[in-house]
Symmetry: D2
Subunit: 233 residues, 4 copies
């Protein structure tokens, strides 16, 4: 966890959620899929399967922020969620499509890929927590993805063992999630969760929220594993 | 508030919500419509309009408990909500229809009556609080109805000034909500809210929940007033 | 209905919904509040009450488009809804706040005004139709507002009897909804509803959707009336 | 498909959905897990894992019927959904718990088992279809489970190759889903879907609904496979 101290303050609500499920968090952020991106050893079919599913993932991720905007009790909360929704479908998805084009995958191809059960499980779990609970439950289910990718990017970028240059086909992926733009996204989501935790009784609900966070983290582990399984690993 | 001390413990979460909006609570539980039932002076057209709208109200009230069952995080919470839903559509609605038959109104007639905006406002406000928030937000919006009718029934039944016997066409209504069956419903809803308040951080969220409770109470005032307005009062 | 022929094609799904409830549509689009804006006779307190409630209305209207984005089955549907959400909270609300400043009302004041039951009834009815049904039900409930304002703006702008110039304090309001920008919003919403009606079986569901559209139109009548009532008319 | 002709009329909406995805339907209803129950060869650990997950499944299945009751547009629709919800949590879950006790599993143990991603994927997919769409979308996602178990029970009970008597530890399971009580549940769900298909434009939406039905069927395949995987098959 030390490596992420910079990005995720230990005293933040999100930092406390991470600290409450150390095994799941490590299994997620140090998954063999991640290690394979760091040293360039990840089989390309694994990454390609991941990319296509990540396209479908982003659609439901965007739907989750739309739900957050709908559930907002204040204009600030609505603007935060709607801004993220807008960034996802207007910017992120287009970047993802461009990036995938570099791997020889078209948007039409990805849209036609059957959704992997691992993708269904994580995305619909998040949406269900949002419908069953309140905005804080929803953000607790979204946090492993938003924050975890930043933590992974930060660690891989800082690690001297990470393979650099053209030898590593995954360097661009690492650069995105280690980049200042994404770090800002992460910091904003941590701050938003801190505000909500105060207003929505986060301390009294910590155990339930930690359970949601851990389940979502475990489903992220399944999302990485799905990539490896597709490549027969 | 003293009259309801027996039914609603002052220290219960619901008791605290009532204490946070004394003016709205008084305007609701001592509305002229209520006073008119107590002394039998309420014009019959007012009561008839109220009864027909109350039929439509019960449908959306049942939908709110269905939403509560859907949002439940525990089997106990689900059983409580589903049991209430079942009681509402299998028992309460049939009793309501029987009771209305005594006033010469058939179920088909009531189902065909256009829903009054006062009924739309209250019922859909409750449902929206349920979708926007969690189970505690939903129950805070439902409480003025469930608990308020018990408080009104208790006070009118205990008040020596209440007109008794055949002279008061509204005596049966009062008897229902002053009866032990309904008091049990109220006590269970108060206990359920107390349990949820602990688990869902009710203390930290008290001001927001009190705002929801007050808005719902004000919409109950509108529901009584709708009856009087229909009778040209 | 003839006056709106240009903006709302008679054969469009929305045109058919309007044609199915002529009395409600006329009561809404030719309400005395509207006539008062046309000839400048509307009491200012009526308009001020309307403006403050319209601010609250816009918040829940935006939440309805967030719900639409969440419910979308295609990326195009999501982009349409998210784009409208974004336009509402980033552009429309700011314009509304600026416009209200011209009437001496600050955003803080409007945010603090208690929501009128007429506003609660309409906005929460729309949201409930969205939760109970699908995207087409939701858009059928939203259409009277989106399309109706365009129809009103078009008619008042074209009507030689409309009072022009500084003598009419409501001329700017009329200009907004008669303007090309707003007409484009209306045309897009009509086209979106036509696409959805095909995909979601609109013809087979016409009676139910017409019922939703009519109820929403009646609640718009209530919204205008709320303004007059506030001014003691 | 012939074997289920009796239970599922070919011309029913559900029969048409089944006919639209023959490969998925066969993979589901003739899965090796099912074959292993028929001849008694299914490893007990596979069945035990299935039973524990089915307990968790039933909870979310009940939540889906609660959502259906909430979304209902008519009292009949609400009574159907609420009756099913009630049957599930008052009767089915208790029978399931009793049945599992016969396999040496307590309710507390099952409630403590981590939910398998295959269970998360199917249940939350169903709930999401319900939130994104209308009642018909929700029932299309629920149908593979409700109807498929009846079809499986019917076929295994009728098949002379099915191992009978104490030699087959799964005979009681087969008897439940081949029993007249369960057949009545299936017939009612088919009839309810037929009514909804008429009212909600099912013919025009057939392709989308068939897609939902097929996805849900594929997730049922995953649910059986989860049992085998747990036993290392």
């Amino acid at each position: 966890m030390t490596a992420s101290a910079d990005l995720v303050p230990a005293g933040s609500f999100c930092g406390r959620l991470i600290a409450a499920c150390p095994d799941s968090w490590t299994a997620y952020t140090r998954h063999p899929f991640v290690a394979g991106m760091a040293d360039g050893s990840l089989p390309e079919p694994a990454f390609r399967h991941y990319l296509a599913q990540d396209y479908l993932f982003l659609i439901h991720f965007a739907r989750a922020y739309a739900l957050a905007a709908h559930k907002a009790d204040t204009l600030d909360d609505m603007r935060y969620a709607a801004g993220t929704l807008s960034a996802l479908i207007d910017t992120e998805m287009k970047l993802h499509v461009q990036y995938c084009a570099g791997w020889g995958m078209t948007e039409a191809e990805m849209a036609a890929v059957p959704e992997d059960p691992a993708c269904v499980a994580y995305t619909r779990f998040v949406l269900d927590r949002g419908h069953a609970g309140d905005l804080l439950d929803l953000y607790a289910a979204l946090a492993p993805c938003v924050v975890g990718y930043g933590v992974i990017g930060e660690r891989l970028a800082a690690d001297p063992a990470t393979l650099r240059g053209e030898a590593n086909p995954y360097e661009a992926w690492i650069a995105v999630y280690a980049g200042e733009d994404y770090r800002e996204v992460v910091r904003n989501s941590i701050a938003q969760m801190d505000r909500l935790a105060v207003r929505r009784g986060g301390d009294a609900r910590f155990d339930d929220l930690a359970c949601t966070f851990r389940q979502a983290t475990d489903l992220e582990v399944g999302f990485w594993q799905m990539g490896l399984d597709a490549a027969g690993r």
